[in-house]
Amino acid sequence: EDQVTQSPEALRLQEGESSSLNCSYTVSGLRGLFWYRQDPGKGPEFLFTLYSAGEEKEKERLKATLTKKESFLHITAPKPEDSATYLCAVQAAKAAGNKLTFGGGTRVLVKP
């Protein structure tokens, strides 16, 4: 069974204090690994898709990387507006439809 574990569960940062979120996964053949951002009371919002080990993607202060067992979301010099829950999800190569298996998320709070 596909599994996704995210750590830490919560992260408190000062504005400008860079950090990394971890997503460890086990999947029977990875089709894609996804990062989403979720604000309170809202639905998840897509950030990145990574397909193969060694791949990296960037968007503003966020950078996602992928290895064969885990993915990292690096937040560089975060601002208060980066406060959100970050969700990681995997899609197996043989997954029916576009089934995504999600981790429990990392709640990030950036204080000014």
Partner: protein, 114 residues
Amino acid sequence: DTAVSQTPKYLVTQMGNDKSIKCEQNLGHDTMYWYKQDSKKFLKIMFSYNNKELIINETVPNRFSPKSPDKAHLNLHINSLELGDSAVYFCASSRTQGYTGELFFGEGSRLTVL
């Protein structure tokens, strides 16, 4: 103009009642989903429809019945509600099944069963 909209946003009801949640997407996508997010924030897929055809039906009690009248709409009806059904239910859509792309989520419907 909301891409994926679901109604109602909040439902509070008694055990044993029946309730429905409606979802509509205006993105022209072929595939729609229902996900459940429990109190620990885990998102789990319940159902997936591709162009009105049921593709994914995870281990969900048969009290939950999805219906897709057309590819832009996916509704969720829940019979005989139980306390454990309390959660946030998210509708989502994507371009097509088998496409490794982003899912667009609605804002969620928070169901509270008393």
